[in-house]
């Protein structure tokens, strides 16, 4: 009997000591997860709260008075939101695919030691990282010479090659052993076959990482639309939300204009939240789907592949 008790405590202690650190770790991670989630939940909850109730009671995890006013205002005309979604999705998909093709081809050429024009070409890419024509000349080039204003392409072409991404890809390609290329050549593969069948399959982590960067870049851009898009049918999502918010905000915030203002009744507070909810949805899903490559892409850079 005397022996039975120590055995039991020993057993208990061993379970605890075996799991103690893991429990602590899980608990800490749980707390951090909750801390990350709370703001998101507050935003979603605020977007569904009545404007006046929100002012009275402040923000909470659950709407104090449920209301769809903010969504009603934004979705006044759902066809426009859907159209803008269409624009943004097309731009993101076309831009990312084209961008990856062009940038990986360029980066691969830059990574090949036996390519004669490697240095001048690298300098050409590098130069644009430091210098550009400036806003007005760029604007004149795009609108008057390339005649790209109010086209889908103007939202894609300016971001097709990002020098920084090209160098990231080149650095990754440089880590691939040269022997792959040499042995492929001996087996009779031509340059395209080497690139498509050897290099690209070995580079999925790098491509996925750059692809995710591209997706985020195209999805979040409103600057190009601000400069070059006048027709509402070509508004991308981010710019549409920017315009709705700025137009609602502008007249009430500008003292000169608000002296002349005639009735505007807009649930400004909750609109902001509803917009955030509408805008982050799909890109959050894309991030979840791609994040395993994302993590691998970052860590893989330094490790020699098998």
């Amino acid at each position: 009997m005397a022996a039975a008790i120590p055995v039991k405590t020993h057993h208990q202690r061993s379970w605890l000591s075996r799991h103690f650190w893991q429990l602590l770790l899980h608990f800490a991670l749980l707390v951090i997860t909750v801390l990350f989630l709370i703001p998101l939940v507050v935003v979603v909850s605020a977007s569904f709260t009545d404007e006046i109730a929100l002012t009275r009671n402040g923000y909470g995890l659950w709407p104090s008075q449920f209301s769809l006013d903010a969504y009603n205002y934004i979705l006044l005309d759902p066809s426009q939101i859907l159209r803008s979604y269409g624009v943004t999705i097309s731009v993101t998909v076309i831009g990312t695919v084209l961008g990856l093709i062009v940038m990986s081809l360029l980066a691969y050429a830059l990574a090949r030691q036996d390519f004669t024009w490697r240095r001048p070409l690298a300098f050409f890419v590098f130069f644009t990282m430091l210098f550009n024509g400036g806003l007005v000349p760029t604007y004149i080039l795009v609108t008057q010479y390339l005649k790209l204003r109010d086209t889908l392409w103007v939202l894609i072409l300016p971001y097709l090659v990002v020098p920084w991404f090209v160098f990231l890809l080149r650095t990754y390609f440089l880590t691939l052993p040269k022997e792959f290329i040499e042995s492929a050549k001996i087996d009779g593969a031509n340059e395209w076959q080497i690139y498509l069948n050897i290099i690209l399959p070995l580079s999925t982590p790098a491509l996925a990482t750059i692809g995710l960067f591209c997706i985020l870049m195209f999805w979040n851009d409103w600057w190009l639309a601000l400069l070059y898009i006048n027709e509402q049918r070509l508004y991308p999502l981010q710019y549409l939300l920017f315009a709705i918010l700025r137009n609602a905000e502008f007249l009430s915030a500008n003292s000169a204009a608000s002296a002349m203002l005639t009735s505007v009744k807009v649930p400004l507070q909750t609109i902001r939240m509803a917009m955030a909810v509408i805008a982050i949805g799909p890109v959050a899903i894309a991030f979840l789907a791609l994040q395993r490559y994302f993590v691998r892409g970052i860590t893989l850079g330094g490790i020699k592949g098998e």
Partner: protein, 504 residues
């Protein structure tokens, strides 16, 4: 390595040269002077398209409205109208680029607060209208006395068509009707903000759930009788009735001191929210009925009707300011003609329509009858929203032309004859001694930027009563002088004297 550096340096030089060449390349196009004159009879006018670029929501039905406007304009002046609204948030940026790139445009909205009027004149983006106005827009030209046009004059020339709307700034207070009645406030007896103190005190004691004041901010140049001739932010002013045009530091006056002391007193008494409230929040709190009153707002004819529509509260409003006409107030919204316009004469004729043709003007401001609006009371010119109101509802009458031609959107506006009252208020208000003077900020740009930084940092807590004026006011004055306020005052005085000289 050093070879690469040299290559880079050489390339950088070439890049700089290219950039330097690119800017003037656009200039020749923009420099073509418009040909005024050669008046043609309306029937013989060749067909043209006139674009109108302005800030505002881009509505779904904007092309439909363009077509309806064209139907009228084609009959009268053989012009097709193309409306080009640009979102407010992008308006400044897009116009700067469009002008820099020498893009063609005809009519464009300008103001001191967006798409800056003076800047556009200095950059040569808009043309003088002195010859065009009497010739092609006689109705518009005669709709205002010659002295009103002075507000748009820069270096003796008119570059913008003033939109008639509320030009004066009778600042005052708004107070909730139910509370004013409950605590026996005689609104008409209030001559200055201090007179409100007993009422505010009573609300503070009697209504625990209500904050008496949105803020204790009560400073407005106009309330003290000052005309802020440099800008609404810079504390440089003259007294509006001072024929000697003496420029002074408005922050160093007894009036400003009294204003910040009152703000401090009411702040300490707990009549205001503890922290400064963002404008959007404050509007929401108004709607939620958490405030009793606000100060330092424009009290205009029909303002109480608008406040009710906006905040859902019945209010009394009363001005504590002797209104007077200033350059900034009269030129608050204008339309101008671009230098790149191929048809400035026809653009001027369109401006004539916008300012004198009631049907044309209401078409652009309110949309199409039966679709975007319907008659509520045709006799008194009152309208109500139509079935497709959301597809075109700019709600910016003051942007497009003479607002006194606009249909009323509330029967009470018609009952109060708001436009007639506003017109009368504009007309009856004495002009500032500096009406027509437009300050050119170019020579003191650095000082103005420094002053603006000081004002942003120190003026807000001071005028809201959040700091003790005993120490904060001398500090503010010292920092203003260090930022170069005296230089600005001297420059303003110099420009003002030159302007006065040129008018003799």
């Amino acid at each position: 390595m050093s070879r690469t550096t040299k290559q880079m340096a050489a390339a950088a030089m070439i890049g700089l040269l290219l950039a330097a060449c690119a800017a003037p390349a656009a200039a020749p196009k923009a420099a073509e002077a418009p040909k005024a004159g050669e008046q043609a009879q309306p029937a013989e006018l060749p067909p043209v398209t006139i674009t109108y670029t302005y800030g505002g929501n881009v509505f779904k039905d904007v092309d439909m409205v363009s077509e309806a406007l064209s139907a009228i304009a084609q009959k009268k002046i053989n012009a097709t109208i193309k409306l080009k609204p640009i979102d407010w948030g992008a308006f400044d940026e897009k116009m700067k680029l469009a002008f820099a790139a020498g893009e063609e445009c005809d009519i464009v909205f300008v103001a001191p607060w967006i798409n800056n009027y003076i800047q556009n004149i200095v950059n040569g983006n808009i043309i003088p209208l002195d010859d065009l106005l009497p010739k092609y827009a006689p109705g518009l030209w005669k709709s205002m006395p010659e002295s009103s046009w002075d507000a748009a004059r820069v270096n003796g020339k008119i570059y913008g068509v003033l939109n008639q709307q509320i030009w004066v700034k009778p600042f005052g207070f708004s107070v909730r009707k139910d509370l004013a009645d409950k605590y026996g406030l005689d609104v008409n007896a209030v001559q200055k903000y201090e007179d409100l103190e007993p009422f505010i005190k009573a609300v503070k004691e009697g209504e625990p759930d209500i904050i008496p004041l949105t803020s204790s901010y009560n400073w407005m140049f106009e309330t003290a009788g000052f005309d802020p001739i440099v800008s609404q932010e810079t504390p440089v002013a003259i007294r509006y009735d001072d024929k000697d045009l003496k420029v002074f530091n408005a922050a160093a006056t007894p009036e400003f001191k009294a204003s910040v002391e009152l703000a401090r007193k009411w702040y300490l008494a707990g009549y205001t929210p503890k922290d400064k409230i963002e404008r959007a929040d404050s509007e929401a709190m108004w709607r939620a009925g958490q405030f009793a009153m606000s100060m330092a707002g424009v009290v205009k004819p029909g303002g109480d009707i608008e406040a009710r529509q906006r905040f859902g509260q019945d209010v009394y409003q009363k001005s504590v300011t002797q209104p007077f006409l200033t350059t900034a107030g009269s030129s608050a919204t204008m339309n101008a003609i671009c230098r790149t316009s191929k048809n400035p004469e026809r653009a001027m004729m369109v401006l004539e329509l916008l300012n004198t043709d009631v049907e044309f003007y209401n078409l652009i401001s309110k949309g199409i009858e039966g679709r975007h609006w319907e008659w509520a009371d045709k006799e008194n010119k009152v309208i109500k929203p139509g079935p497709n109101n959301a597809d075109y509802n700019p709600n910016t009458d003051w942007e497009f032309g003479n607002q006194f031609n606009a249909y009323y959107i509330d029967p009470e506006q018609a009952a109060q004859k708001v436009w007639e009252a506003t017109y009368k208020l504009n007309n009856d208000s004495p002009p500032s001694a500096a009406l027509g003077f437009n300050f050119n900020p170019e020579p003191v740009k650095t000082e103005l930027a420094n002053i603006s930084a000081v004002v942003k940092e120190l003026a807000e807590p001071l005028t809201n009563g959040m700091v003790d004026p005993e120490t904060a006011l001398p500090e503010y004055l010292k920092r203003l002088d260090e930022a170069g306020l005296q230089t600005v005052i001297a420059e303003t005085q110099k420009q003002l004297n030159e302007w006065a000289q040129s008018r003799k």
